[in-house]
Symmetry: C2
Subunit: 152 residues, 2 copies
């Protein structure tokens, strides 16, 4: 039953989503990344880059080389149907991933809090594949994610 | 005389350099960006994206739309022979610009302080066009920039 419910959310069955958020730029929004991850799971999406929402991430990555982390993340991006980035916390990695997703020509949804000071490379980006939205609260954040996945 | 001195620094006469640093991610390293800008000017390079080192930048950009800022920066990147990024302060814009420079296949030099927590998208990037270096002090920062411009 659960599977049936999930499958109707997106036109594309179980789209693969790359979830992008700050790791070394700061983990202060970890709870938000977890909410985004949970929402994506609820829609039936397959979250390929789930580790951004993993509170144990630092421990896991301590055993990996920088090259292994890069290679894991870019390997997942190549397989993704879309990217969702939380851009409230400035992050060099998130900016890099947004660019790579646009180069790969997949839809990108950038979400941020109203008080965030967001890069002009995001806010002023004319690429029709990128959509930037401000979420005033958790309920609207969830809804924006559901709407985006639905339209894939 | 000054022109002759400058011209011998780089094999490529007056290479155009895109200088990338944090703007909205935080301006705490503005003095460093200014030093990088001055060093580049001394080598005879043409700094196309000089505004990152401009203390009045916020004022100038207040009169521009997000699209105008994006369009100015990406227009300059297209004309650049290389990109030099200071990656100590996490910045979504810097990450985006690094990616765009690599897609355009121009050399990228990423510089950071020893204590910086730098993204794996930079540190683990296997692209042969990207070089990442740690500078312990201002003298070494200057020398790294001079060496990079020389090799262009």
């Amino acid at each position: 039953m659960e599977y049936v419910e999930k499958a109707v959310v997106s036109r594309q069955q179980n789209p693969k989503i790359f979830l992008s958020g700050s790791i070394r730029g700061g983990r202060q929004l970890l709870e938000t990344y977890r909410l985004m991850y949970d929402t994506l799971e609820e829609t039936g999406a397959e979250v390929l880059c789930w580790h951004v929402a993993d509170p144990e991430l630092e421990k896991t990555e301590m055993g990996m080389t920088e090259e292994e982390i890069y290679s894991r993340d870019m390997g997942l991006l190549v397989k993704s149907d879309a990217l969702i980035a939380e851009v409230t916390v400035p992050s060099t990695g998130v900016g890099y991933e947004i660019c790579r997703a646009l180069v790969k020509e997949i839809p990108v949804l950038c979400l941020h809090r109203p008080e965030a000071i967001v890069s002009a490379m995001v806010l002023g980006n004319p690429d029709p594949l990128i959509e930037v939205r401000t979420y005033p609260n958790e309920a609207s954040l969830k809804q924006m994610i559901i709407d985006f996945v639905k339209a894939l």
